[in-house]
């Protein structure tokens, strides 16, 4: 298993330092939260990890692989999948096709096989269809498989994006605000689902999220950024009571109810849910306040 390690990573856009000397490491198999107020540089960190942007200094490694020189497609090849803050589905492709695009890397059949329709081509297609349908069932989207992806309701589009990322068979899943726009119930479902995915596929999950109900409920370790700099790191309980975090969030005007939620919502709802869940979540339950 591989850890994701960031050391002294900085990134500037013109004069703006979006990420400044950020270091953290994500142990394999963890569900790791990356939080902070708007503009804290969370998404930029994702973009740096996935090669969309190149960082100025520092190092980003995944296991033994240095991610710096890799283009986004190569990062995907290493086993890092992501979702996007603004949903980026292939709008003219169907739900199923959206998933199928993501398995190009795993195909044995190459271009010539497609031209000459060899046995390998058919086997590949069948195999990938199986996998895609199975993943769609996991996310409850199987009935929409042949619908255009834009016809899905918003929450399902988010789920489809996660399903598409899972199609890569990733070792590390980066989720950028997966709960955005979800209601309480949907967010609860998402929590269960993230945990289940991690256990089932031996994933490492890094989560950027504003919804504290989700962050505090599912993350085992949290890293807090503000204005591109690290202000706190620790378990949800530690982070929640960290003075700098409180300052950062309460200093902002509209984020305080998030904190309330973080304080109130999870304990009750969470204990009930994580209790009967699979063995790995015992850890979470322990870490709950």
């Amino acid at each position: 298993m591989s850890d994701l390690v960031l050391e002294g990573v900085s990134k500037s856009f013109g004069g703006l330092r979006a990420v400044a000397d950020v270091s953290f490491s994500v142990k394999a198999g963890r569900i790791f939260g990356l939080i902070g107020p708007n503009g804290a540089g969370k998404t930029t960190v994702f973009n740096l990890v996935t090669g969309v942007y190149k960082h100025d200094v520092g190092s980003i490694r995944f296991g033994s692989t240095n991610l710096l020189p890799l283009a986004p497609a190569k990062v995907a090849e290493v086993g890092i999948a992501r979702t996007f803050q603004n949903i980026r589905l292939f709008t003219q492709l169907t739900v199923l096709e959206n998933l199928l695009v993501a398995c190009e890397l795993q195909k044995r059949a190459h271009l010539a096989a497609a031209f000459f329709r060899t046995k390998v081509h058919y086997e590949d297609e069948e195999l990938m269809h199986h996998r895609a349908m199975e993943l769609l069932e996991v996310f409850g989207l199987q009935d929409a498989a042949d619908e255009p992806s834009t016809s899905l309701p918003y929450g399902n589009q988010r789920r489809l994006e996660i399903a598409r990322a899972m199609m890569l068979k990733p070792k590390l899943l980066l989720l950028d605000e997966p709960a955005a726009g979800m209601n309480y119930g949907e967010a609860e479902g998402l929590k269960t689902q993230i945990r289940w995915l991690r256990d089932k596929f031996d994933l490492t999950v890094v989560l950027v999220e504003h919804n504290m109900q989700v962050v505090m409920g599912v993350c085992e370790e949290i890293h807090v950024l503000d204005h591109g700099e690290t202000i706190a790191h620790g378990t949800p309980a530690e982070v929640q009571n960290h003075p700098k975090v409180l300052a950062a969030y309460l200093g902002g005007d509209d984020d305080d109810d998030d904190d309330d939620e973080a304080g109130k919502a999870p304990p009750g709802a969470e204990a009930k849910k994580t209790g009967p869940a699979s063995t790995a979540t015992a850890k979470d339950a322990g870490s709950e306040p």
Binding site: F90, C103, K119, E123, E125, E134, G140
Partner: protein
Amino acid sequence: MMPASGKGVASVGKKAREPSKRGWAFAAAALVVVVVLELGLERMIPDSSIRQLLMLAACNVLVALSLNVINGMAGQFSIGHAGFVGLGAYTSAVVSAHLHEAMGGGEVTFAKSFVVVPIALLASAVVAGTFGYLVGLPSLRLKGDYLAIVTLGFAEIFRLLIATAQLGEKETIGEAAAKIGKDGVVGPFFHMLQVGITSLGGQNGYAGPKNQGLPLYAGPFWVFGLALVLGVLAYRLKFSGWGRALRALREDEIAAAAVGVDPTRYKVRSFVIAAVGAGIAGGLMAMNRDGTPTVQPDNYNFQASFDAITMVILGGSGSVTGAAIGGVLITFTVKAIEAVQSTRVVQDLKSSVPWLDLNALRMMLYAAVLIALMIWRPEGLLGERELFQKQKLRPLKLPKPSPDHPKPDEPDRAPAAAANEPAKPVVAAADEPAKSDGDEPEKGAPP
């Protein structure tokens, strides 16, 4: 686990390959048809201009099909496709003419064409493909509009180099070659290049090494046969994972890259594929049995590129059958207008209305149709659909893996087995939060 999956897939695979038996029958029938056409087209259609039109249509279909790979499927915008066609035409012309000489000249026969045509077309494909790679490479760095400019630049450079490289008064190639190195400013390499290009005949066109006309080896067998074969290949390309990836790339490059579709590789390859197709089309045009025995640079000018774009857009960008329809339609209108132009009525009309330029009128009409299409139906006639779209990408309801061959250690299977449990909380929201009672996915294999 591999044998299990292999077995499972084999059973579906057999089903999937079932149509290919019909495919063989289809191929055999097509073969018979093209051979019959090869031997009997002259008798069926005595008018050589109509034969030429039919064959030209087939060649143009190939041009449209290949441009469709870049402009339609990959969503790039090439406005210099005629450059690749021209490269192919010139390459085939040179190769076939020299091969013909080497084989002792004489009659152009169907038997000999089995030597000449494949070699010439292969050369065309390689040359055009190489240039396609070189032109596609900038797509590493250039986005949309700039790429269009590079393609235009390439096509113009190609055409202008050939068209303007003309021998001096009564100068032979040998004399020109003797001047190599004597001319101060231009280095020997460039001079050699210039002499080489000059031997292609400049503005007047290339008509073989001794200017006696090109040997026209590509009969209906080759033209229609290759049009069919390449059409099928284009279709297969579209309905493969590769075509899907191209479509995804066209929609959203960043998201495609994030799931492992390398934009550069896919784009460059699509460029190469398109260039190869165009090269073959050009080669067939140059060797077209009922065509003119020369190739001329002006056949591959910007207007030709524009025609190619019109073919693709009119039929529906991204649609293989659409591109084919577009190719046929455009070819026939061009010829129809030429035919109309030579009729008595129009000739008379022209003598009274001297400014009437039907070709200009045709281009105006095309342009107007194109603009109107862009405004009201930007996806073209067919859009991305196909005329005969029976090939579903997937059976509508996936056959559930039968319980009689369980695959306990097959990694791809397990999630589905356990899927129902975690999926439910998602759908049914939080009121029944942890209904994952059967939460041991490991033994959650099919009963």
